[in-house]
Protein backbone atom coordinates (compact mmCIF):
# COMPACT_ATOMS: atom_id res chain seq x y z
CA UNK A 1 0.00 0.00 0.00
CA UNK A 2 2.67 2.49 1.04
CA UNK A 3 4.77 1.48 -1.95
CA UNK A 4 1.80 2.02 -4.25
CA UNK A 5 1.03 5.46 -2.85
CA UNK A 6 4.69 6.45 -3.09
CA UNK A 7 4.85 5.26 -6.68
CA UNK A 8 1.74 7.23 -7.60
CA UNK A 9 3.16 10.27 -5.85
CA UNK A 10 6.31 9.86 -7.91
CA UNK A 11 4.31 9.71 -11.11
CA UNK A 12 2.31 12.75 -10.06
CA UNK A 13 5.52 14.68 -9.38
CA UNK A 14 6.89 13.78 -12.83
CA UNK A 15 3.65 14.77 -14.55
CA UNK A 16 3.55 18.01 -12.61
CA UNK A 17 7.10 18.78 -13.65
CA UNK A 18 6.32 17.94 -17.28
CA UNK A 19 3.19 20.08 -17.43
CA UNK A 20 4.90 23.00 -15.73
CA UNK A 21 7.67 22.75 -18.30
CA UNK A 22 5.16 22.76 -21.13
CA UNK A 23 3.31 25.70 -19.57
CA UNK A 24 6.53 27.63 -19.25
CA UNK A 25 7.56 27.03 -22.83
CA UNK A 26 4.12 27.66 -24.32
CA UNK A 27 4.06 31.06 -22.66
CA UNK A 28 7.62 31.81 -23.74
CA UNK A 29 7.77 30.28 -27.21
CA UNK A 30 4.65 31.99 -28.51
CA UNK A 31 5.48 35.01 -30.58
CA UNK A 32 4.57 38.28 -28.95
CA UNK A 33 6.43 40.16 -26.29
CA UNK A 34 4.67 40.12 -22.90
CA UNK A 35 6.07 43.55 -22.08
CA UNK A 36 4.65 44.91 -25.33
CA UNK A 37 1.36 43.10 -24.68
CA UNK A 38 1.08 44.75 -21.26
CA UNK A 39 2.16 48.26 -22.20
CA UNK A 40 0.79 48.42 -25.74
CA UNK A 41 2.77 49.08 -28.91
CA UNK A 42 3.05 52.81 -28.21
CA UNK A 43 5.30 52.18 -25.21
CA UNK A 44 8.79 53.63 -25.21
CA UNK A 45 11.83 51.39 -25.50
CA UNK A 46 13.01 52.25 -21.98
CA UNK A 47 9.64 51.45 -20.42
CA UNK A 48 9.63 48.10 -22.20
CA UNK A 49 13.14 47.37 -20.96
CA UNK A 50 12.20 48.30 -17.40
CA UNK A 51 9.16 46.02 -17.44
CA UNK A 52 11.19 43.15 -18.89
CA UNK A 53 13.63 43.49 -16.00
CA UNK A 54 10.75 43.57 -13.54
CA UNK A 55 9.23 40.43 -15.07
CA UNK A 56 12.62 38.72 -15.11
CA UNK A 57 12.53 38.44 -18.89
CA UNK A 58 15.98 39.97 -19.36
CA UNK A 59 17.89 36.87 -18.29
CA UNK A 60 18.53 33.83 -20.53
CA UNK A 61 15.65 31.41 -21.05
CA UNK A 62 17.14 28.56 -19.01
CA UNK A 63 17.61 30.88 -16.02
CA UNK A 64 14.00 32.04 -16.30
CA UNK A 65 12.98 28.39 -16.33
CA UNK A 66 14.81 27.58 -13.10
CA UNK A 67 13.54 30.74 -11.42
CA UNK A 68 10.00 29.76 -12.46
CA UNK A 69 10.30 26.17 -11.19
CA UNK A 70 11.94 27.27 -7.96
CA UNK A 71 9.21 29.85 -7.41
CA UNK A 72 6.48 27.28 -7.88
CA UNK A 73 8.06 24.97 -5.31
CA UNK A 74 8.50 27.57 -2.56
CA UNK A 75 5.10 29.19 -3.21
CA UNK A 76 6.51 32.38 -4.68
CA UNK A 77 4.36 32.77 -7.77
CA UNK A 78 5.22 36.39 -8.36
CA UNK A 79 3.24 39.53 -7.72
CA UNK A 80 0.10 40.53 -9.61
CA UNK A 81 0.89 43.33 -12.05
CA UNK A 82 -2.49 44.90 -11.38
CA UNK A 83 -3.17 44.64 -7.65
CA UNK A 84 0.45 44.39 -6.51
CA UNK A 85 -0.45 41.56 -4.15
CA UNK A 86 1.16 38.11 -4.33
CA UNK A 87 -0.46 35.95 -7.00
CA UNK A 88 -0.80 32.97 -4.67
CA UNK A 89 -2.77 35.05 -2.15
CA UNK A 90 -5.25 36.23 -4.78
CA UNK A 91 -5.72 32.68 -6.02
CA UNK A 92 -6.19 31.16 -2.57
CA UNK A 93 -8.78 33.81 -1.78
CA UNK A 94 -11.16 32.65 -4.55
CA UNK A 95 -10.17 28.97 -4.75
CA UNK A 96 -12.72 27.78 -2.12
CA UNK A 97 -15.60 29.25 -4.14
CA UNK A 98 -14.53 27.36 -7.27
CA UNK A 99 -13.97 24.13 -5.35
CA UNK A 100 -17.40 24.50 -3.74
CA UNK A 101 -18.98 24.88 -7.17
CA UNK A 102 -17.13 22.02 -8.86
CA UNK A 103 -17.65 19.57 -5.99
CA UNK A 104 -21.36 20.41 -5.81
CA UNK A 105 -21.77 19.91 -9.55
CA UNK A 106 -19.74 16.71 -9.51
CA UNK A 107 -22.02 15.29 -6.80
CA UNK A 108 -25.07 16.37 -8.77
CA UNK A 109 -23.61 14.86 -11.94
CA UNK A 110 -23.01 11.51 -10.23
CA UNK A 111 -26.38 11.43 -8.47
CA UNK A 112 -28.19 12.13 -11.73
CA UNK A 113 -25.86 10.46 -14.24
CA UNK A 114 -25.11 7.06 -12.67
CA UNK A 115 -28.73 5.91 -12.12
CA UNK A 116 -29.80 7.10 -15.58
CA UNK A 117 -26.81 5.38 -17.14
CA UNK A 118 -27.58 2.10 -15.37
CA UNK A 119 -31.26 2.33 -16.27
CA UNK A 120 -30.39 3.08 -19.88
CA UNK A 121 -28.07 0.06 -20.11
CA UNK A 122 -30.55 -2.31 -18.48
CA UNK A 123 -33.34 -1.18 -20.80
CA UNK A 124 -31.10 -1.23 -23.83
CA UNK A 125 -32.72 -0.21 -27.13
CA UNK A 126 -35.99 0.49 -25.36
CA UNK A 127 -37.61 3.88 -24.98
CA UNK A 128 -35.80 4.86 -21.72
CA UNK A 129 -32.48 4.06 -23.40
CA UNK A 130 -33.25 6.22 -26.43
CA UNK A 131 -34.41 9.09 -24.24
CA UNK A 132 -31.32 8.84 -22.04
CA UNK A 133 -29.01 8.68 -25.05
CA UNK A 134 -30.56 11.62 -26.88
CA UNK A 135 -30.85 13.59 -23.65
CA UNK A 136 -27.23 13.03 -22.68
CA UNK A 137 -26.02 13.81 -26.19
CA UNK A 138 -27.99 17.05 -26.06
CA UNK A 139 -26.59 17.79 -22.61
CA UNK A 140 -23.01 17.53 -23.74
CA UNK A 141 -23.73 19.63 -26.83
CA UNK A 142 -24.39 22.65 -24.63
CA UNK A 143 -21.50 25.04 -24.34
CA UNK A 144 -21.58 25.78 -20.59
CA UNK A 145 -22.21 29.47 -21.12
CA UNK A 146 -25.16 28.80 -23.43
CA UNK A 147 -26.89 26.57 -20.89
CA UNK A 148 -26.02 29.07 -18.17
CA UNK A 149 -27.57 31.93 -20.14
CA UNK A 150 -30.70 29.85 -20.84
CA UNK A 151 -31.04 28.86 -17.16
CA UNK A 152 -30.60 32.47 -16.17
CA UNK A 153 -33.20 33.60 -18.71
CA UNK A 154 -35.74 31.07 -17.53
CA UNK A 155 -35.29 30.71 -13.77
CA UNK A 156 -33.99 34.12 -12.79
CA UNK A 157 -35.57 36.48 -15.29
CA UNK A 158 -38.75 34.69 -16.32
CA UNK A 159 -39.69 32.88 -13.10
CA UNK A 160 -37.66 35.07 -10.72
CA UNK A 161 -36.83 32.10 -8.50
CA UNK A 162 -33.18 32.96 -8.16
CA UNK A 163 -31.18 36.18 -8.00
CA UNK A 164 -29.84 37.30 -11.38
CA UNK A 165 -26.47 38.03 -9.86
CA UNK A 166 -25.12 35.81 -7.11
CA UNK A 167 -23.91 38.06 -4.32
CA UNK A 168 -21.25 35.57 -3.32
CA UNK A 169 -21.22 36.97 0.20
CA UNK A 170 -24.44 35.62 1.64
CA UNK A 171 -23.88 34.98 5.31
CA UNK A 172 -26.39 32.23 6.02
CA UNK A 173 -26.39 28.73 4.62
CA UNK A 174 -29.67 29.39 2.79
CA UNK A 175 -28.19 32.39 0.97
CA UNK A 176 -25.16 30.40 -0.05
CA UNK A 177 -27.22 27.50 -1.29
CA UNK A 178 -29.36 29.87 -3.35
CA UNK A 179 -26.27 31.43 -4.90
CA UNK A 180 -24.84 28.02 -5.59
CA UNK A 181 -28.00 26.40 -6.95
CA UNK A 182 -28.17 27.58 -10.56
CA UNK A 183 -24.42 27.49 -11.29
CA UNK A 184 -24.19 23.99 -9.77
CA UNK A 185 -27.24 22.81 -11.71
CA UNK A 186 -25.71 24.18 -14.89
CA UNK A 187 -22.38 22.43 -14.43
CA UNK A 188 -23.93 19.37 -12.80
CA UNK A 189 -26.30 18.61 -15.66
CA UNK A 190 -23.49 18.80 -18.22
CA UNK A 191 -21.41 16.47 -16.05
CA UNK A 192 -24.44 14.19 -15.69
CA UNK A 193 -24.64 13.95 -19.48
CA UNK A 194 -21.04 12.71 -19.68
CA UNK A 195 -21.42 10.38 -16.69
CA UNK A 196 -24.64 8.87 -18.07
CA UNK A 197 -22.86 7.87 -21.25
CA UNK A 198 -19.84 6.30 -19.58
CA UNK A 199 -21.98 4.48 -17.03
CA UNK A 200 -24.16 3.14 -19.81
CA UNK A 201 -21.33 1.74 -21.90
CA UNK A 202 -19.49 0.36 -18.85
CA UNK A 203 -22.68 -1.33 -17.65
CA UNK A 204 -23.36 -2.80 -21.09
CA UNK A 205 -19.98 -4.44 -21.02
CA UNK A 206 -20.48 -5.83 -17.52
CA UNK A 207 -24.01 -7.08 -18.22
CA UNK A 208 -22.60 -9.36 -20.92
CA UNK A 209 -20.23 -11.09 -18.51
CA UNK A 210 -20.61 -14.76 -17.62
CA UNK A 211 -21.00 -14.17 -13.90
CA UNK A 212 -24.11 -12.12 -14.53
CA UNK A 213 -25.65 -15.06 -16.35
CA UNK A 214 -24.63 -17.34 -13.49
CA UNK A 215 -26.16 -15.01 -10.94
CA UNK A 216 -29.39 -14.90 -12.91
CA UNK A 217 -29.37 -18.66 -13.32
CA UNK A 218 -29.14 -19.22 -9.59
CA UNK A 219 -32.18 -16.98 -9.19
CA UNK A 220 -30.73 -13.83 -7.73
CA UNK A 221 -33.05 -10.83 -8.00
CA UNK A 222 -32.16 -8.78 -11.07
CA UNK A 223 -32.08 -5.54 -9.10
CA UNK A 224 -29.46 -6.99 -6.75
CA UNK A 225 -27.37 -8.23 -9.69
CA UNK A 226 -27.49 -4.82 -11.32
CA UNK A 227 -26.97 -2.54 -8.37
CA UNK A 228 -24.70 -4.65 -6.19
CA UNK A 229 -22.70 -6.78 -8.60
CA UNK A 230 -22.63 -5.01 -11.93
CA UNK A 231 -22.46 -1.40 -10.88
CA UNK A 232 -19.46 -1.99 -8.66
CA UNK A 233 -17.58 -3.51 -11.59
CA UNK A 234 -18.72 -0.81 -13.96
CA UNK A 235 -17.54 1.97 -11.69
CA UNK A 236 -13.85 1.72 -12.59
CA UNK A 237 -14.21 3.15 -16.09
CA UNK A 238 -16.66 5.69 -14.69
CA UNK A 239 -14.13 6.92 -12.15
CA UNK A 240 -11.40 7.06 -14.80
CA UNK A 241 -13.54 9.08 -17.13
CA UNK A 242 -14.77 11.41 -14.41
CA UNK A 243 -11.11 12.11 -13.67
CA UNK A 244 -10.49 12.80 -17.37
CA UNK A 245 -13.55 15.05 -17.62
CA UNK A 246 -12.18 17.25 -14.90
CA UNK A 247 -10.58 19.35 -17.62
CA UNK A 248 -13.98 19.92 -19.19
CA UNK A 249 -15.44 20.68 -15.76
CA UNK A 250 -12.76 23.27 -15.08
CA UNK A 251 -13.24 24.94 -18.45
CA UNK A 252 -16.99 24.97 -17.93
CA UNK A 253 -16.65 26.37 -14.42
CA UNK A 254 -14.85 29.38 -15.87
CA UNK A 255 -17.78 30.08 -18.19
CA UNK A 256 -20.37 29.41 -15.48
CA UNK A 257 -18.69 31.76 -13.04
CA UNK A 258 -18.68 34.52 -15.63
CA UNK A 259 -22.36 34.15 -16.53
CA UNK A 260 -23.53 33.97 -12.91
CA UNK A 261 -21.00 36.58 -11.83
CA UNK A 262 -19.70 34.26 -9.14
CA UNK A 263 -16.32 34.86 -7.55
CA UNK A 264 -13.80 32.14 -8.38
CA UNK A 265 -10.85 31.17 -10.55
CA UNK A 266 -12.89 31.84 -13.70
CA UNK A 267 -13.48 35.48 -12.94
CA UNK A 268 -9.89 35.83 -11.81
CA UNK A 269 -8.45 34.45 -15.05
CA UNK A 270 -10.71 36.55 -17.25
CA UNK A 271 -9.87 39.65 -15.22
CA UNK A 272 -6.18 38.82 -15.62
CA UNK A 273 -6.68 38.41 -19.37
CA UNK A 274 -8.46 41.71 -19.79
CA UNK A 275 -5.88 43.57 -17.74
CA UNK A 276 -2.98 41.68 -19.29
CA UNK A 277 -1.86 40.56 -15.85
CA UNK A 278 0.91 38.33 -17.12
CA UNK A 279 2.18 37.00 -13.78
CA UNK A 280 -1.37 36.25 -12.66
CA UNK A 281 -2.00 34.25 -15.84
CA UNK A 282 1.12 32.22 -15.26
CA UNK A 283 0.03 31.60 -11.66
CA UNK A 284 -3.38 30.48 -12.88
CA UNK A 285 -1.74 27.95 -15.21
CA UNK A 286 0.23 26.62 -12.25
CA UNK A 287 -2.82 26.25 -10.03
CA UNK A 288 -4.81 24.53 -12.78
CA UNK A 289 -1.91 22.16 -13.34
CA UNK A 290 -1.73 21.39 -9.62
CA UNK A 291 -5.47 20.71 -9.50
CA UNK A 292 -5.38 18.41 -12.54
CA UNK A 293 -2.42 16.41 -11.26
CA UNK A 294 -3.93 16.15 -7.78
CA UNK A 295 -7.25 14.90 -9.10
CA UNK A 296 -5.52 12.32 -11.29
CA UNK A 297 -3.70 11.12 -8.20
CA UNK A 298 -6.94 10.88 -6.24
CA UNK A 299 -8.56 9.04 -9.17
CA UNK A 300 -5.75 6.49 -9.16
CA UNK A 301 -6.00 5.96 -5.42
CA UNK A 302 -9.79 5.60 -5.61
CA UNK A 303 -9.51 2.51 -7.82
CA UNK A 304 -8.32 0.47 -4.86
CA UNK A 305 -11.30 1.52 -2.78
CA UNK A 306 -13.76 0.48 -5.46
CA UNK A 307 -12.02 -2.64 -6.63
CA UNK A 308 -10.24 -4.73 -3.97
CA UNK A 309 -8.71 -6.82 -6.79
CA UNK A 310 -6.36 -3.95 -7.50
CA UNK A 311 -3.77 -4.73 -4.90
CA UNK A 312 -2.04 -1.40 -5.25
CA UNK A 313 0.70 -3.07 -7.21
Amino acid sequence: MTAFVLKRLGFAAITLFAVLTIVFFIVRVLPGDPAMAILGDQASQSALEALRVRLGLDVPLYQQYFVFLGGVVVGDWGVSLVSGRPVIEEILKVLPATIELTVASLILGIVVGVPIGVWSAVRRNKLPDYLARIGSLLGLSFPAFVSAVLLLLFFSIHLRWFPVISSGQGSGLADRMRDLALPAINLGLIMAAYITRVTRSAMLEVLNQDYVRTARAKGLAFAIIVWRHCLRNALIPVVTVVGLYLGILIGNSVLTEIVFNRPGLGKLIVGALNQRDYTMLQGMMVIYTLIVVLVNLITDLTYGLIDPRIKYS
Partner: protein, 304 residues
Protein backbone atom coordinates in the same frame (compact mmCIF):
# COMPACT_ATOMS: atom_id res chain seq x y z
CA UNK B 1 -11.84 -3.96 -49.05
CA UNK B 2 -8.40 -3.16 -47.74
CA UNK B 3 -5.28 -2.32 -49.62
CA UNK B 4 -3.73 -5.62 -48.64
CA UNK B 5 -4.23 -7.21 -52.08
CA UNK B 6 -1.50 -5.20 -53.75
CA UNK B 7 1.12 -5.98 -51.14
CA UNK B 8 0.16 -9.63 -50.84
CA UNK B 9 0.49 -10.38 -54.53
CA UNK B 10 3.75 -8.50 -54.69
CA UNK B 11 2.78 -6.82 -57.93
CA UNK B 12 3.59 -3.15 -57.90
CA UNK B 13 0.27 -1.45 -58.46
CA UNK B 14 0.02 1.63 -60.59
CA UNK B 15 -0.53 4.93 -58.86
CA UNK B 16 -4.16 5.08 -59.95
CA UNK B 17 -4.91 1.59 -58.70
CA UNK B 18 -3.43 2.51 -55.38
CA UNK B 19 -5.49 5.68 -54.98
CA UNK B 20 -8.65 3.89 -56.04
CA UNK B 21 -8.08 1.13 -53.49
CA UNK B 22 -7.20 3.57 -50.73
CA UNK B 23 -10.27 5.65 -51.43
CA UNK B 24 -12.45 2.55 -51.55
CA UNK B 25 -11.11 1.45 -48.14
CA UNK B 26 -11.92 4.78 -46.56
CA UNK B 27 -15.30 5.23 -48.23
CA UNK B 28 -16.51 1.72 -47.52
CA UNK B 29 -15.38 2.02 -43.91
CA UNK B 30 -17.34 5.24 -43.50
CA UNK B 31 -20.36 3.86 -45.31
CA UNK B 32 -20.52 0.82 -43.07
CA UNK B 33 -20.35 3.13 -40.09
CA UNK B 34 -23.14 5.32 -41.42
CA UNK B 35 -25.48 2.43 -42.01
CA UNK B 36 -24.91 0.93 -38.58
CA UNK B 37 -26.69 3.83 -36.95
CA UNK B 38 -29.28 5.78 -38.86
CA UNK B 39 -29.17 8.82 -36.58
CA UNK B 40 -25.82 9.62 -38.19
CA UNK B 41 -27.64 10.50 -41.40
CA UNK B 42 -29.87 12.94 -39.50
CA UNK B 43 -26.84 14.61 -37.95
CA UNK B 44 -25.10 14.80 -41.32
CA UNK B 45 -28.17 16.28 -43.02
CA UNK B 46 -28.61 19.00 -40.39
CA UNK B 47 -24.92 19.84 -40.47
CA UNK B 48 -24.87 20.05 -44.27
CA UNK B 49 -27.87 22.39 -44.20
CA UNK B 50 -26.05 24.66 -41.74
CA UNK B 51 -22.92 24.52 -43.88
CA UNK B 52 -24.96 25.42 -46.96
CA UNK B 53 -26.58 28.36 -45.15
CA UNK B 54 -23.11 29.54 -44.12
CA UNK B 55 -21.78 29.31 -47.66
CA UNK B 56 -24.83 31.13 -49.04
CA UNK B 57 -24.83 33.79 -46.28
CA UNK B 58 -23.80 36.63 -48.64
CA UNK B 59 -26.74 35.77 -50.91
CA UNK B 60 -29.49 34.87 -48.47
CA UNK B 61 -28.79 37.12 -45.48
CA UNK B 62 -31.58 39.75 -45.51
CA UNK B 63 -29.28 42.57 -44.32
CA UNK B 64 -25.63 43.49 -44.20
CA UNK B 65 -24.42 41.97 -40.88
CA UNK B 66 -22.42 45.11 -40.08
CA UNK B 67 -24.94 47.71 -41.17
CA UNK B 68 -26.04 49.76 -38.17
CA UNK B 69 -29.44 51.41 -37.90
CA UNK B 70 -29.79 53.54 -34.81
CA UNK B 71 -33.55 53.95 -35.37
CA UNK B 72 -34.06 50.19 -35.10
CA UNK B 73 -32.08 49.42 -31.94
CA UNK B 74 -32.97 46.43 -29.76
CA UNK B 75 -36.16 45.65 -31.66
CA UNK B 76 -37.82 42.32 -30.81
CA UNK B 77 -38.39 39.71 -33.55
CA UNK B 78 -40.73 40.98 -36.29
CA UNK B 79 -41.51 40.40 -39.97
CA UNK B 80 -38.73 42.73 -41.04
CA UNK B 81 -36.21 41.27 -38.58
CA UNK B 82 -37.09 37.65 -37.80
CA UNK B 83 -34.63 37.39 -34.93
CA UNK B 84 -34.81 41.07 -33.88
CA UNK B 85 -32.02 43.64 -33.89
CA UNK B 86 -29.10 44.31 -31.57
CA UNK B 87 -27.83 47.34 -29.67
CA UNK B 88 -26.59 48.97 -32.88
CA UNK B 89 -29.70 48.09 -34.87
CA UNK B 90 -27.97 45.27 -36.74
CA UNK B 91 -30.09 42.37 -37.96
CA UNK B 92 -29.58 39.33 -35.69
CA UNK B 93 -30.51 36.75 -38.34
CA UNK B 94 -27.99 38.12 -40.82
CA UNK B 95 -25.32 38.17 -38.12
CA UNK B 96 -26.06 34.56 -37.20
CA UNK B 97 -25.76 33.50 -40.85
CA UNK B 98 -22.45 35.30 -41.22
CA UNK B 99 -21.32 34.07 -37.82
CA UNK B 100 -21.76 30.51 -39.05
CA UNK B 101 -19.00 31.15 -41.57
CA UNK B 102 -16.56 32.09 -38.80
CA UNK B 103 -17.53 29.17 -36.58
CA UNK B 104 -17.30 26.60 -39.34
CA UNK B 105 -14.12 28.02 -40.88
CA UNK B 106 -12.25 28.06 -37.58
CA UNK B 107 -13.64 24.68 -36.55
CA UNK B 108 -12.83 22.95 -39.84
CA UNK B 109 -9.35 24.45 -40.19
CA UNK B 110 -8.44 23.71 -36.57
CA UNK B 111 -9.71 20.14 -36.60
CA UNK B 112 -8.33 19.54 -40.09
CA UNK B 113 -4.82 20.50 -39.02
CA UNK B 114 -5.09 18.77 -35.62
CA UNK B 115 -6.26 15.65 -37.43
CA UNK B 116 -3.29 15.68 -39.81
CA UNK B 117 -0.65 16.43 -37.16
CA UNK B 118 -2.23 14.23 -34.48
CA UNK B 119 -2.66 11.29 -36.84
CA UNK B 120 0.95 11.57 -37.97
CA UNK B 121 2.16 11.58 -34.36
CA UNK B 122 -0.09 8.69 -33.35
CA UNK B 123 0.77 6.65 -36.43
CA UNK B 124 4.51 7.10 -35.98
CA UNK B 125 4.24 6.26 -32.27
CA UNK B 126 2.14 3.17 -32.90
CA UNK B 127 4.16 1.99 -35.92
CA UNK B 128 7.60 2.23 -34.37
CA UNK B 129 6.52 1.34 -30.83
CA UNK B 130 9.10 1.03 -28.06
CA UNK B 131 10.67 4.13 -26.68
CA UNK B 132 9.34 6.40 -29.45
CA UNK B 133 5.84 5.34 -28.52
CA UNK B 134 6.40 5.69 -24.78
CA UNK B 135 7.83 9.19 -24.89
CA UNK B 136 5.42 10.55 -27.51
CA UNK B 137 2.33 9.29 -25.77
CA UNK B 138 3.57 10.45 -22.38
CA UNK B 139 3.84 13.98 -23.76
CA UNK B 140 0.40 13.67 -25.35
CA UNK B 141 -1.13 12.42 -22.10
CA UNK B 142 0.31 15.34 -20.21
CA UNK B 143 -1.14 17.78 -22.74
CA UNK B 144 -4.42 15.91 -22.62
CA UNK B 145 -4.58 16.38 -18.87
CA UNK B 146 -4.66 20.14 -19.23
CA UNK B 147 -8.08 21.80 -19.50
CA UNK B 148 -8.41 22.62 -23.21
CA UNK B 149 -10.37 25.83 -22.71
CA UNK B 150 -7.69 27.20 -20.38
CA UNK B 151 -4.92 26.22 -22.80
CA UNK B 152 -6.79 27.80 -25.71
CA UNK B 153 -7.44 30.89 -23.64
CA UNK B 154 -3.77 31.39 -22.81
CA UNK B 155 -2.63 30.81 -26.38
CA UNK B 156 -5.15 33.26 -27.84
CA UNK B 157 -4.38 35.79 -25.13
CA UNK B 158 -0.69 35.58 -26.05
CA UNK B 159 -1.09 35.54 -29.83
CA UNK B 160 -4.00 37.95 -30.10
CA UNK B 161 -7.48 37.14 -31.38
CA UNK B 162 -7.61 36.50 -35.13
CA UNK B 163 -8.98 33.68 -37.23
CA UNK B 164 -5.49 32.21 -37.75
CA UNK B 165 -4.57 32.38 -34.07
CA UNK B 166 -7.85 30.84 -32.96
CA UNK B 167 -7.19 28.02 -35.39
CA UNK B 168 -3.74 27.49 -33.88
CA UNK B 169 -5.03 27.58 -30.30
CA UNK B 170 -7.88 25.16 -30.90
CA UNK B 171 -5.76 22.85 -33.05
CA UNK B 172 -3.14 22.65 -30.28
CA UNK B 173 -5.71 21.38 -27.81
CA UNK B 174 -7.04 18.81 -30.28
CA UNK B 175 -3.74 17.22 -31.39
CA UNK B 176 -3.31 14.87 -28.38
CA UNK B 177 -6.71 13.19 -28.72
CA UNK B 178 -6.08 12.53 -32.43
CA UNK B 179 -2.69 11.05 -31.64
CA UNK B 180 -4.40 8.69 -29.19
CA UNK B 181 -7.13 7.82 -31.68
CA UNK B 182 -4.68 7.09 -34.51
CA UNK B 183 -2.26 5.09 -32.39
CA UNK B 184 -4.53 2.23 -31.31
CA UNK B 185 -5.67 1.06 -34.78
CA UNK B 186 -2.13 1.54 -36.11
CA UNK B 187 -0.89 -1.01 -33.61
CA UNK B 188 -3.68 -3.38 -34.61
CA UNK B 189 -3.03 -2.97 -38.34
CA UNK B 190 0.76 -3.12 -38.26
CA UNK B 191 0.70 -6.74 -37.05
CA UNK B 192 -1.42 -7.97 -39.92
CA UNK B 193 -0.03 -10.15 -42.71
CA UNK B 194 -0.21 -7.61 -45.49
CA UNK B 195 2.12 -5.30 -43.60
CA UNK B 196 4.48 -8.20 -42.97
CA UNK B 197 4.33 -8.97 -46.69
CA UNK B 198 5.20 -5.35 -47.35
CA UNK B 199 8.23 -5.63 -45.08
CA UNK B 200 9.30 -8.77 -46.88
CA UNK B 201 9.05 -6.96 -50.20
CA UNK B 202 11.35 -4.30 -48.84
CA UNK B 203 8.84 -1.48 -48.76
CA UNK B 204 10.02 1.54 -46.82
CA UNK B 205 8.47 2.53 -43.51
CA UNK B 206 7.09 5.66 -45.12
CA UNK B 207 5.44 3.69 -47.87
CA UNK B 208 3.91 1.18 -45.46
CA UNK B 209 2.64 3.86 -43.13
CA UNK B 210 1.17 6.20 -45.69
CA UNK B 211 -0.03 3.79 -48.33
CA UNK B 212 -1.07 0.75 -46.36
CA UNK B 213 -1.77 1.72 -42.76
CA UNK B 214 -3.24 5.18 -43.23
CA UNK B 215 -6.21 4.14 -45.43
CA UNK B 216 -7.12 1.50 -42.87
CA UNK B 217 -7.11 3.79 -39.86
CA UNK B 218 -8.64 6.77 -41.68
CA UNK B 219 -12.31 5.90 -41.01
CA UNK B 220 -11.76 5.87 -37.26
CA UNK B 221 -9.88 9.14 -37.35
CA UNK B 222 -12.50 10.81 -39.54
CA UNK B 223 -15.31 9.67 -37.26
CA UNK B 224 -13.62 11.23 -34.26
CA UNK B 225 -13.10 14.30 -36.41
CA UNK B 226 -16.82 15.02 -36.40
CA UNK B 227 -16.99 14.76 -32.60
CA UNK B 228 -13.97 17.01 -32.22
CA UNK B 229 -15.36 19.49 -34.73
CA UNK B 230 -18.30 19.82 -32.34
CA UNK B 231 -15.87 20.48 -29.50
CA UNK B 232 -13.88 22.96 -31.57
CA UNK B 233 -17.00 24.96 -32.42
CA UNK B 234 -17.95 24.94 -28.75
CA UNK B 235 -14.49 26.11 -27.68
CA UNK B 236 -14.42 28.86 -30.32
CA UNK B 237 -17.80 30.13 -29.13
CA UNK B 238 -16.65 29.94 -25.51
CA UNK B 239 -13.50 31.93 -26.26
CA UNK B 240 -15.55 34.54 -28.14
CA UNK B 241 -17.92 34.72 -25.17
CA UNK B 242 -15.00 35.41 -22.84
CA UNK B 243 -13.90 38.16 -25.21
CA UNK B 244 -11.18 36.28 -27.09
CA UNK B 245 -13.04 35.77 -30.35
CA UNK B 246 -12.38 37.29 -33.75
CA UNK B 247 -12.43 41.04 -33.15
CA UNK B 248 -15.75 42.91 -33.34
CA UNK B 249 -17.60 44.08 -35.36
CA UNK B 250 -17.19 40.74 -37.15
CA UNK B 251 -20.19 38.59 -36.26
CA UNK B 252 -19.34 35.49 -34.19
CA UNK B 253 -21.91 33.45 -32.30
CA UNK B 254 -20.04 33.57 -29.00
CA UNK B 255 -19.45 37.30 -29.42
CA UNK B 256 -23.14 37.87 -30.15
CA UNK B 257 -24.13 36.06 -26.97
CA UNK B 258 -21.57 38.13 -25.09
CA UNK B 259 -23.13 41.36 -26.39
CA UNK B 260 -26.64 40.00 -25.94
CA UNK B 261 -25.83 39.07 -22.36
CA UNK B 262 -25.31 42.75 -21.53
CA UNK B 263 -28.92 43.45 -22.54
CA UNK B 264 -30.37 40.20 -21.30
CA UNK B 265 -32.93 41.74 -18.95
CA UNK B 266 -34.92 43.47 -21.70
CA UNK B 267 -33.74 41.93 -25.00
CA UNK B 268 -33.57 38.19 -24.47
CA UNK B 269 -33.52 37.38 -28.22
CA UNK B 270 -30.01 38.72 -28.63
CA UNK B 271 -28.58 35.91 -26.53
CA UNK B 272 -31.22 33.30 -27.29
CA UNK B 273 -30.95 32.93 -31.08
CA UNK B 274 -27.18 32.61 -31.39
CA UNK B 275 -27.33 30.15 -28.45
CA UNK B 276 -29.77 28.01 -30.39
CA UNK B 277 -27.57 28.24 -33.49
CA UNK B 278 -24.56 26.88 -31.59
CA UNK B 279 -26.69 24.17 -30.04
CA UNK B 280 -28.06 23.01 -33.42
CA UNK B 281 -24.60 22.73 -35.00
CA UNK B 282 -22.91 21.07 -32.04
CA UNK B 283 -25.80 18.67 -31.51
CA UNK B 284 -25.92 17.68 -35.19
CA UNK B 285 -22.18 16.96 -35.19
CA UNK B 286 -22.43 14.97 -31.96
CA UNK B 287 -25.34 13.00 -33.40
CA UNK B 288 -23.28 12.31 -36.52
CA UNK B 289 -20.10 11.35 -34.70
CA UNK B 290 -21.77 9.40 -31.93
CA UNK B 291 -23.62 7.14 -34.36
CA UNK B 292 -20.47 6.59 -36.40
CA UNK B 293 -18.38 5.86 -33.34
CA UNK B 294 -20.67 3.05 -32.27
CA UNK B 295 -19.94 1.48 -35.62
CA UNK B 296 -16.15 1.81 -35.60
CA UNK B 297 -15.53 1.29 -31.88
CA UNK B 298 -14.04 -2.20 -31.77
CA UNK B 299 -15.40 -2.77 -28.28
CA UNK B 300 -18.94 -2.51 -29.56
CA UNK B 301 -18.39 -4.56 -32.71
CA UNK B 302 -20.63 -7.52 -33.23
CA UNK B 303 -23.39 -5.98 -31.18
CA UNK B 304 -26.44 -4.39 -32.63
Amino acid sequence: MTTQSSAATGRRPSRMTYYRLALATVVSGLFRAFNANKTSWVGLAVFLIVALLAILAPVIAPYDPLQQNILFRLKPPSDAHWFGTDYYGRDTLSRILWGARISLTIGLLAIGSAMIIGTLIGMVAGYFGGRTDLITMQVMDVLLAFPSLILGLIVVAMLGPSVANLVIAIALTAIPPFARIARAPTIAVKNREFIEAGHALGYSHMRLMFRHILPNIAPEVLVMGSLWLATAIRVEASLAFIGLGVNPPTATWGGMIREGFENILDSFWLALFPSLAILVVVFSLNLLGDGLRDAVDPRLKGEQ
